[in-house]
Subunit: 368 residues, 2 copies
């Protein structure tokens, strides 16, 4: 087992990464203040892992909340169901919520913990690769609004995170790939050697080799933790973690939640962001090819949906949280392993870029 | 004008108290980061003060959200209406929300600010005495749940507070009195000289003398700020601010939101808490008489509703947030101006006390 500490002063917390941790409650129990626990999970994860978790927590007053599975249920209404259950079972301020599930469960459980009685403790047990490398570090929690993703939320750090790579064995291929998109992101934005390592080990990762997965989760979390530690509330540099996300969110919103997986949209968004970096002359075209090849090995999409127009991109990008005072901030690459947040790209330059990308795409579609 | 700083490190903020501040935007504008403002108010306050506020904010993209008036609308659903409007008008992370109204508006606006895009700025312009002396200090925000008051919320500090005693001229008598209940609370729990001052100046306050009101608001905020500065997230001493509230919340919940005003329930709750302190031999019976007399001068209720039983008190007190790990913590007086949080009162002692209070009460009702 590997342990990494996310360094956030009084809100610092450990991430334990390894195989078979789900039943190793010695990593969890010391963190729990009271005698009440509520496990928040969903109907897909519950039949697989809820019982083994519960078996090791018999000393507590235990409540379980099983949410429907899917991004479309990441809503205020479902959040309220969690509050209903907690109040019905008389959970008090010393209760601890445990998120057992993917990013949606983690975000909702974390936000419920942030708001229940103005803040209670929570622990993350992420069961998807995406959640292990993304939502387990950084304390972003929240729900969606029909007008935009994650528009309602809070920063709330967990007490600890257990990332059990063993549970990734039951993850559908498509979700494993979506998680790998975020893993590859860390290589691109902050860690060139890790990108090289990924190119060499992608087959092992796709074959779910536990040692390779542990290494990939660890290095991803390390990279993310380093960025977050310097900018907890995303006033500056933390925004580089949104690499590929501005284009990606536009794609996700256009497709409707749940049709493209988040990681799939981010994969395409990253190719677009590398492409724009190439066209600006900031990086070599070779990096675009390497990025595309690596993502394609994971069977991830690398081009936006055929029916997305320049106008739909522009409309959906400007509602995104990455817009400050009406100015679009984009995350682009200066070189492999070095992302920057820039406001240099004018609306005109962006329109021109989208026009080129979408024209080439439609040309490819016609000739293919 | 008087200015008081609430000392919370990087989250410190000023409270300006005086007459006619509502149109003095020089106290507000320097705090605003972006070019967007959303004023959250209600249908009672809007016709009175919204226009004068707006007139002085013409340089901004202005959105207004007018909520229905009343505690029964302090819900997640109404909160979502605020999010709808903000997103519809494309407010971004640099927006500033302004709460123009009483405690309900302040709590909802503050909570909306805490959650919108994971946290934006907000400014309080409290228009009731209760809100000026209570919710303007401390950063507690939130909404109610059918199973309990303020069960969903966050700590989120405003950028600044404008407490204009001039607007209290339009406050109904009953609401003025409810605010005075909280003012009297500060005398009881932390400031004996202020309690004496209140006994001497209660007529002026009831006549809405602006100088007396400014003094009362200032000293209340000073007392509260001192307590909050030492314990922002209510892990310890801050709980003394809940003096009278454990009994009070039970009364409010029993009556249904909005039937007794919060301050009215707190008035009765405080008499009960002083009474219990007397019966424990901690304070002299004289203080109970002084407290009761001062509250009665304000025409505030000093006895619980006739239909409340011992059982209903116990049931409604135990869901209250003041319960830690199943143990009831009560705030009682050691002397005038000195409140303590105690877990010493056993369930039996409390039941005995409630039995005595309610029996005497029903006896009084029969003989009156």
């Amino acid at each position: 087992m590997q342990t990494l500490t996310v360094d956030l002063g009084t809100r610092s917390y450990p991430i334990h990464i390894g195989s078979g941790l789900l039943t190793r409650m010695e990593w969890i129990v010391p963190h729990i203040r009271g005698h009440q626990i509520a496990i928040i999970t969903n109907e897909t994860v519950a039949p697989l892992y809820l019982e083994s978790l519960k078996q090791n927590l018999t000393d507590f007053q235990l409540t379980e909340v099983i949410l429907p599975d899917g991004e479309q249920y990441k809503t205020l209404d479902e959040l309220n169901r969690i509050f209903d259950r907690l109040l019905e079972q008389r959970h008090n301020r010393t209760t601890t919520l445990i998120a057992l599930g993917g990013g949606v469960v983690g975000d909702m459980c974390g936000f419920a913990a942030a708001c229940y009685q103005r803040g209670v403790d929570f622990i993350q047990i992420p069961t998807t690769l995406l959640a292990q490398v993304d939502s387990s570090v950084g304390g972003k929690t929240g729900v969606n609004h029909p007008r935009g993703k994650n528009m309602i939320g809070a920063f709330h750090q967990p007490l600890c995170v257990l990332a059990d790579v063993n549970v990734l064995s039951t993850l559908p291929d498509r979700e494993l790939a979506a998680g790998l998109a975020e893993v590859i992101k860390y290589g691109l934005i902050t860690d060139a050697p890790f990108f090289d390592w990924l190119e060499q080990n992608i087959d092992k990762l796709l074959a779910r080799d536990e040692q390779a997965l542990t290494e990939a989760v660890l290095r991803s979390c390390q990279n993310k933790a380093q960025v977050v530690a310097g900018d907890e509330k995303e006033h500056g540099r933390r925004a580089i973690l949104n690499f590929g996300h501005t284009f990606g969110h536009a794609i996700e919103t256009h497709q409707g939640y749940g049709n493209w997986l988040h990681g799939e949209a981010v994969a395409t968004g990253m190719v677009m962001a590398v492409d724009l970096s190439v066209r600006l002359g900031w990086v070599q075209p070779e990096l675009r090819e390497r990025t595309r090849a690596l993502l394609q090995q994971c069977a991830l999409p690398v081009t936006p949906p055929g029916d997305m127009t320049q106008e739909s991109f522009l409309a959906l990008m400007s509602i995104d949280k990455k817009v400050v005072s009406g100015q679009l901030r984009l995350v682009l690459l200066k070189r492999l392993g070095q992302a920057v947040v820039t406001s240099e790209i004018t609306q005109e330059r962006l329109e021109e870029f989208l026009h080129m990308v979408l024209t080439e795409l439609s040309h490819q579609l016609q000739t293919s």
